[in-house]
Every structure is written in C-alpha cells, then in structure tokens.
C-alpha cells in the first residue's frame, strides 16, 4: 500500500493501527472509490443551484479533470470533493467516509489524513522556507516536528526541489512555488490530491512542468483530481468530467492508463440522471 502507517489514525488503545476496515460492505474485494457522489446537489439561499444532482465515482489511482467554464459548478465540486462544504442533498463519500455523517472536527481529520489540496495561488506561508511550508502539510495529522521535516524533505525530493529546500517562497519561481505546494499536499500520502487550477497562475513552461509532475505522481499511484477551465489541460488527462450549469455534461476516458479498472463503464456519456443511475447500479 502507498499509505504510510504513521499517518493512519491511532485507535484508542494506542496500538499499531490495524489495516483500515473499509466502511462499505460491498461484496467485492475492490477498495471503495476515493470519491463517490450520489445525486449530490448544492443550492444556496436565493434559488442558486450550484450543483444539480451530480453522480460521480473516482476510483483509486485515477487522474481526472473536472473541467468547465466559470460558473459551471466546478468550484462547488472541488469544495464538496474536498469536504470543505457539504451538499444540500445527496450523498458524498470520500475515502469511504460518508461526509454528511461526520462532525466538523472529524471532517478536519479526514482532510488532514486523506486529502491533499493544491491551489491556483499556492498559498505558501511567506518568510518560511520550503521545508517548513511542506512540513505544515502534516501539522494537523499529529506528526512530531522532526518527522514532519524529514518527510517534507522526502516530498520535496519527489517534486525535484531538493536543491530549493531552504528557500522562502519569494525566492522561488511560480512553477517552483506550485511544486512546493504539491509537495505539501503529498507529504501526508493522501488518498486524494485535489488540484484547483494548478497551472492557472503559471506561464506555459512552468505549467507543463507541473502537469508532467502530476502525471508522474499519478503513475506512481496517487489519485488526482484536477479542476480546470482549460480544455488543453483537460485533454491531456486520461479522464475528463465536463460541467455545465451545475451538471455533468460528459464523462470521457482515453488512453490505457485506467485500463486496470476495465470493469467500470467508460466512454463519453451524457450526464443525465438516468445514465448515472445505470452506472451506480453497475458498480
């Protein structure tokens, strides 16, 4: 398994964590999907429907683009997939946990241990070096400082920034900053990496490096969800979920990267409710 036992939640007895028993009682031996949205809808007071009954399943090891123009509901999707927000109706499961059943502090723990975020504007702490910024990714997972730093150095090596360890954000280029941010998201070995317009603030060359890095991380097993409005970036990813007006309008796959999961129906399909229901029934 990829997951490092250290960040596994410790049980009350304080013993070494047993392998997590997955919450779903599905008959199969396949691990539960990393993200599972069923009829998820989000509306705001005043009749704004940001999401209208979305069904989406992201399996372990996928690299998915959530793509759509601004106002299509993809930011709301990000918030809901990242457990930063709860849907108004419908069910959301992230890493096997039903989000609606979790208290705010348990949701925080879920984010601390299982979800890594990458933001368009990096959100690095100014004045603190790359190691400290990356180590903050483990701050709320109960990892002691020394180990946080060790693992931060490893994560920086993964994004090939070992030579920039002691640089502060204002000494780094945009692409390097985003790689530090990716290292911060990765350092806890999350089950899901959510990247919100990761190349939005970068020039083309840096953007390509960052996307190449995401592909590489996916190849080594990380489940990644990229939220973008850029069709070019979306087209470079093996699976593309297109949004419009709060609904999935298409969900297409290409390439052979996801071939290990041939049991899941794939290919372009209209995001209608009935079609999604079929997918749910089949899974």
């Amino acid at each position: 398994m990829r997951r490092d036992p250290v960040i596994e939640p410790r049980n009350a007895a304080g013993t070494a964590p047993a392998p997590v028993t997955e919450p779903r009682d599905a008959a199969g031996t396949r691990p539960p999907p990393v993200i599972e949205l069923r009829d998820a809808a989000k509306s705001y007071p005043g009749g704004v429907h940001a999401l209208r009954g979305v069904n989406l399943t992201v399996e372990e090891g996928e690299l998915v683009a959530v793509v759509g123009p601004s106002g299509s509901g993809k930011s709301t999707m990000l918030n809901i997939m990242g457990t930063l927000d709860k849907p108004t109706t419908g069910t959301v499961r992230v890493a096997g946990y039903d989000v609606s059943e979790l208290s705010d502090s348990r949701l925080s723990a879920l984010r601390a241990r299982h979800i890594g975020f990458v933001f368009q504007h990096f959100h690095l702490a100014a004045g603190r070096d790359a190691v400290d910024n990356v180590a903050d990714g483990l701050l709320y997972a109960g990892v002691p400082l020394r180990e946080r730093r060790t693992r931060a150095r490893e994560a920086l090596a993964k994004v090939r920034l070992d030579h920039r360890r002691s640089h502060t954000p204002n000494e780094l280029s945009g692409g390097e900053k985003q790689r530090v941010a990716i290292a911060r998201a990765l350092v806890g070995d999350p089950r899901l990496l959510l990247a919100d317009e990761p190349t939005g603030a970068l020039d083309t060359a840096s953007g390509e490096i960052v996307m190449a890095l995401l592909h590489e991380l996916n190849a080594s097993g990380t489940t990644i969800c990229v939220i973008t409005h850029d069709n070019g970036i979306a087209d470079s990813l093996p699976r593309r979920v297109r949004f419009k007006d709060g609904e999935i309008v298409s969900d297409s796959r290409s390439g052979t990267r996801s071939g290990t999961r041939s049991d899941t129906p794939s290919g372009a399909r209209p995001g209608t409710r009935s079609a999604s229901r079929t997918e749910e029934a089949g899974s």
Partner: protein
C-alpha cells in the same frame, strides 16, 4: 460509524510555533500593540516598586532613628496660660523604670540677629533654646561642622545652630558670632537636620547654665525628650505626663515623633493607589489595542485560515492558534513592561538614594494581568477566526 477519524491535537510546542507565525509576519504592528500593554505594566510595576522602595527607605530610617523616643511638651492650662514644667522634670522622668535617656530643651527669651548692625526689629526667623548636653545623643543628631556643647561650652556664650538656622543666618563656618539680645555669642557648631525633632533645625541652642546666666532663663524646661526600651514605649507614654507635671498632666502634650514618619508612609499609599489606577487604565487601553490588532489580523488572514482548515485544522485548532497569538502578543508586552518598570524603579531609586525594591508579587501580578488580558482580548477574534468557512482559501483569487 467508524471512530478512526479522531482529530490530532497539536503538541504544546506546535501550538506556540503556530501562534507565533502571525506575530513574526507583522513585526511593526506587534511592537506597537505590545507597547500599549508594556506601558500599562511598566507603570504598575514602577509605581509598586517605587512606593515599596520609598517605604523600605522610610522603614530603614525609622529603624535607624528608633521608634522609642517620646517627647513631652508644655501646653496651656484651661485658662490659656502657658504652663511651666518643673525644673526637675528630667530627673523625674529618669526615675521611670524603663527610661534609658531623658533630656530637655527650653525656650528662652532671646532675640537673634546676625550682628549688632541689624536693627532689633529684624530678627532672622531663628529662635533661641537652651539645651542639655545630652540632647544630641538622645535624639540621634549629628554635628555637621564644629562641635556640640560640652561641659565647658554649656556655660559660655557659645551656641550650636540648627541646619536651617545656620542657613537663615548665613553662617557656613564655626567661629563666627551672632547677637542674642545684646550678647555676642560664638557659633561653635552647626547641626545636621534632626529627623525626629525638625523644630530644632530652626533654633540656636545654648547650654542651660549659659541661658540662665546671660538671658535670664528660669531653669524650667519646655520640652522633655526620653527614650525607653521598645517594649515599654506605651507604658511610659501612659505615665509620662503625670510624672513630669503631677496634677497638671492635662496641659502636657506627649507625642511620638516616629509616628509622623510612619504617617508619611501611610499618606503615600493614597498616591500609590491613584498611580496604580492610572496604570490599570493604560493596561486596559493596551488590551483594547491587542483585541483590535487581533480582529484585524483575523480579517486579513481569512485565506490562511482557509488553508489551515484545508490542511486539516479543526475549528478548535484555529481558535487555539489565535488565542495563543493574542496571549503571546500581550505576554511580550507584559514582559517588556515588567523589565521597563523594574529598570525605572532601579534608576529612580538610585537617584533618590534608596535601595531599589521590586516586589516579586508585583511582577507576578503584572504577568497574570497580562495573560488575563491576552485571553480576554483574544477570545472574540479567535472565535471569529474559527467560524471562517474553510472554502475561503479556495475561492480567493
């Protein structure tokens, strides 16, 4: 539902580290808002320190001067006529068991002038008194220049001037002469100020025999001074008037000069309380400043809060972070203030010639007040921070 999503608690060290992050990023603001607290704490520590130092100094002086001195002065009889003490008053007082020393002075009727060229109407504001030779040792006085009256001197037209009297007459050296009535008198000594009997600073003292011989003094003392053992001061006080002037005790005023010094220490307390109040107001204003800084800090750092929430910080972790920041901010001010206050106490006490005293309880109290203010000032901003919705970091552009 599974219970394995228990949020981790930050270690105390991490709590401090995270709490200090916001302070390191905004140093100028931190200094300014800590300054308010520092001024308040410095004021309070300095006020307490100075009042304690001055009290300690007063106590040391009382210790040195002794609190066992009683004076008995003539008053007036019910008809308003001055009463005379018997000539043997000192001898009678000496016969009281616990009395160790007794001595006396007497007013004498002698006008004092600088020289015979000064018209008689223009006196120098200096009066004449007769003194026994053991006066100085009983009062613990000291001679600044020259010598005290000795056995020979008390019979001669020689005088010892009080500190103020010498000043008023313009005499800085011994050997000069002044006029007492029409007699030329040699100044043989000048006294230092006598703390327990400040009235003697304004007089010219001559010996009893000389007073009788040259100024028509009748030998009746006006003031009797006595020292007894410390334990028996009150007992002696009860019988002193009766002993000196039996049957006429109501017209004798007995007092304890050290009481005046002790009263001075008590009057200082009112001023100390006032200054402490001012310090408390400064501290309060400082606390409002910290609260203000924290509220602004929360508004500015919504993104940071959102980021931390996305990294897995619970609401209580965010609350704790801002509460810690507020505590650190005011503790910084408090520590600086305590240092400044202690330094001010040392400096001022040195100038005054006191031994500096900074009571530990004032430092501890200042620290406690600081922490209390830090919590109160930080509570509301911290709660606001914890209510920032986690999506703000993502939505910000």
């Amino acid at each position: 539902m599974r219970n394995d999503l228990k949020p981790s608690r930050l270690s105390p060290r991490d709590v401090l580290r995270v709490g200090a992050v916001g302070l390191r990023a905004r140093r100028a603001r931190v200094v300014l808002s800590a300054l308010g607290i520092a001024i308040g704490i410095a004021t309070m520590v300095a006020v307490v320190g100075l009042s304690e130092s001055s009290r300690a100094d007063l106590m040391a002086r009382l210790d040195r001067l002794g609190t066992n001195l009683l004076t008995a002065e003539v008053g007036e009889d019910p008809l308003g006529k001055p009463v005379k003490l018997p000539e043997n008053a000192v001898a009678m007082v000496e016969r009281i068991g616990p009395v160790q020393h007794a001595t006396a002075t007497a007013d004498i009727d002698a006008r004092i002038r600088r020289s015979d060229l000064v018209p008689e109407e223009r006196t120098a504001g200096v009066s004449a008194q007769a003194a026994r030779t053991d006066l100085l040792s009983t009062l613990g006085g000291e001679v600044a220049k020259g010598a005290w009256l000795d056995r020979a001197g008390e019979r001669l037209p020689a005088t010892v001037l009080g500190a103020v009297a010498a000043d008023r007459l313009g005499i800085a050296r011994t050997g000069e002469t002044i006029m007492m009535n029409d007699t030329r008198v040699v100044v043989v000594g000048i006294l230092r100020p006598i703390e327990l009997a400040p009235t003697l600073d304004r007089v010219a003292l001559v010996g009893f025999p000389a007073a009788e011989r040259y100024f028509g003094f009748d030998g009746h003392p006006t003031t009797v001074f006595e020292r007894s053992t410390d334990a028996s001061v009150e007992d002696v006080r009860a019988i002193l008037a009766r002993t000196i002037s039996p049957g006429n005790e109501a017209s004798v005023r007995v007092s304890r000069p050290s009481d005046a010094l002790a009263a001075k220490a008590a009057t200082d307390e009112g001023l100390t309380a006032l200054m402490l109040g001012l310090g408390a107001v400064a501290l309060l204003v400082g606390g409002v400043g910290v609260a203000n800084t924290m509220v602004i800090s929360v508004l500015e750092r919504r993104q940071e809060i959102g980021l931390r929430r996305s990294l897995g910080a619970t609401r209580s972790a965010i609350r704790l972070q801002f509460l810690t920041e507020s505590l650190l901010l005011s503790a910084l001010g408090g520590a600086t203030g305590a240092l400044l206050g202690a330094a001010a106490t040392y400096g001022f006490a040195r100038v005054q010639g006191w031994t500096p005293v900074v009571p530990p309880w004032s430092l501890a109290g200042g620290l406690a007040a600081t922490l209390l203010i830090g919590v109160i000032a930080g509570l509301y901003p911290a709660i606001r921070a914890s209510r920032v919705h986690p999506t703000v970091a993502l939505n910000a552009t």
